[in-house]
Assembly symmetry: C2
Homo-oligomer: 394 residues x 2
């Protein structure tokens, strides 16, 4: 990452890290500020960050090198992608990073975050910096003033990424403008696609499975059945809940193309949108069978599935890993959507989407609990979500 303080680097870096991890790349974030606080203690006022302060400068370089060492150690052992979240606002610092990358055989890509909107910067300072351990001993206004001084130190030495500095993405004003240099490989394209959709608006999201279907009653997998009588009661309760819930006034409802989600959402008086990418996992030749049928008729499939439920692909159907790829457009639409959302989906597809929203490990997604007739409410915090579960039908 490259950019002055309070431009949203950490916000974008965490979003990217979560998205890449979810999509199957082993990704880790290394935040230089965290290393500084661990190595040197918190509570440095702006003087520490002045380019004139030789001692501060040496300490900050030592911190940067320590964080980079940890980062390369991790890349050597376990990692696909690491994100070095620091200001990196001087060419000298970026040259240091590039040289180390070259000697490690790692491809560097600079992601520079630029914000020209002063009100946006002020909001970021008040929201993410005032509560920082760096300012435990200052009032909010003192903290803001000190942080402005810290920014001024960085601004005095700031050199934006130059045309001759290799591959880069410049992300300007929340993506209103992007400049891409040599961003052609899979990872680069994945980043661009994500950044084009990242609008940075915060909203709540509610997830629920469809009401009980006729096939749920007889334990059959897949298909396109209607709701059962009990599923229809859930649909009524859900509509009542949404209508009575002030926070859900501007909600948009997303369903799959299958009858059981459309029927579940049908009584909700809110705009509705259908995504075929929200259809339930395709069980291929096992559609219409029960798990008992599979164990009996296709025992080798039952064994393979039990061995690795994440990677197991139903013959002519899908795996959870395949689902992640299929759900990408839903995740991007979520990042782009400014309004709160209610998603009426299916067990496997919601496990995959929930795993993204909560930043959980993708390999764990087959084991996420998404019970029938329960509404899961996720409320955004600065960098993550809080969760509440509401049983609408006992």
């Amino acid at each position: 990452m490259v950019g002055l303080p309070a431009r949203g680097k950490t916000y974008v870096a965490r979003k990217i890290a979560r998205y890449l991890s979810w999509s199957g790349r082993r990704t880790r974030l290394f935040n230089a500020g965290d290393y500084r606080r661990v190595m040197l203690g918190a509570q440095h006022t702006h003087e520490f960050f002045s380019p004139e302060n030789a001692e501060g400068k040496a300490s900050r370089l030592a911190v940067a090198k320590a964080a980079l060492d940890e980062m390369f150690k991790w890349l050597r052992l376990d990692g696909d992608v690491s994100i070095y979240d620091a200001t990196n606002t001087t060419r000298a610092r970026r040259d240091l990073i590039r040289e180390q990358c070259e000697s490690e055989g790692v491809r560097p890509l600079f992601v520079e975050i630029i914000c020209t909107n002063e009100a946006e910067i002020e909001a970021t300072i008040r929201e993410t910096k005032v509560a920082s351990p760096d300012y435990a001993f200052l009032s909010a206004d003192e903290a803001v003033q000190d942080f402005r001084n810290r920014i001024a130190h960085y601004a005095s030495a700031y050199e934006p990424v130059g045309e001759d500095e290799g591959d880069f993405i410049k992300y300007i004003d929340k993506g209103a403008k992007l400049i891409l240099k040599n961003v052609h490989d899979d990872l680069g394209q994945q980043l661009v696609r994500f950044l084009l959709n990242l609008r940075g608006t915060r909203k709540s999201i509610w997830l629920t499975r469809h009401g009980e279907s006729m096939w749920n009653r007889s334990n059959l997998i897949g298909g396109d059945p209607d709701l059962s009588p009990s599923g229809r009661i859930f649909a009524d309760r859900l509509a009542e809940f949404v209508n009575e819930h002030e926070a859900m006034r501007d909600v948009v409802v997303w369903t799959s193309m299958l009858k059981r989600t459309i029927q579940t959402a049908s009584k909700i008086a809110r705009p509705q949108q259908v995504f075929h990418q929200l259809d339930e996992i395709n069980a291929g030749i096992c559609e219409g069978m029960s798990y008992a049928d599979i164990r009996q008729k296709l025992p080798e499939e039952a064994v393979a599935r039990a061995r690795d439920k994440f990677r197991y692909r139903y013959p002519r159907g899908e795996s959870y890993q395949d689902l992640i790829e299929r759900v990408v457009p839903v995740v991007l639409a979520y990042e782009r959507e400014p309004r709160p959302l209610l998603v009426v989906g299916h067990q496997a597809v919601l496990r995959v989407f929930y795993t993204y929203l909560m930043g959980a490990s993708p390999e764990g997604c087959p084991h996420v609990s998404i019970p029938l007739h329960t509404l899961i409410e996720l409320s955004p915090r600065i960098y993550d979500c809080s969760e509440e579960r509401i049983a609408l039908l006992q």
Copy 2:
């Protein structure tokens, strides 16, 4: 489009038009040069294009307005996207276009093509301009010289698209650099994704279905069967053909994940790559049935399919229209790949890919003939492909 002559505007415009049409947007290209030649006759030397030539300037404006009129007429009646392929190198011209767009309720997006590589420009002039009807009366060298003079006239008045000119994409040096301004909607994102993959390298591509499978013999749909004895003979012939064919020396082989394509390619001594997006159309609940079975057991499905084979989706399976969406990553990988390709696929999925390669109408794709045991060779020309079909097994 925006850009000086011989920057590759028409090449990019045609590629975009083909891709958007294939993906389901009704798209048409309006080339100002074609309108000029029709309205004013061909064979204008460079003096006609000088900004000093008042008469030429008035004629060129009249041509531009006529082309724009046609374009808006088409957008009003039938179109989703039109591409206005002209230099549009002055702000005044772009203002005219933007005003007309506004009064028509059409969203303008400027795609500016910039090339800083002189050798590339020279090659474009020699390849696409010397043979133009404009130069029927000149030698090649005279044509090149005149065209250079024409470029100089445009260059003298060139104003690159400015920050205040609304939404734009700047495509620089074949995509080595891209600048995106407010490109967030679906169409814009689709364009960016395509342009990030468009490398502009020309190569031949060979398409073939897998050899006959055991299920082909009994007329069953889908599944993951092995090759039949006759299919295995085809696999041998195909490997011999590739090995003996000098033009296929550097070929890369793409297969689906299904056994019948992997077995068909298995004896070819060339690098191989598996794409699950090349798997055959998913026939959902009809997998493992014959068409006669479907007519008998699911007559309403047989009727719906006969009525609209392009949009018909097998229950829990896919339609041809769905296949287009699924095949997008293959098309992008094709545009990105510098080496010649041999694709070993399946009937429906090859119909969809072939339709892209030939720039044919997507709705016609269910009716493209892709016989078993036949190699289809597509050789690139400047703006399209020529085709040859070779029966390897009678």
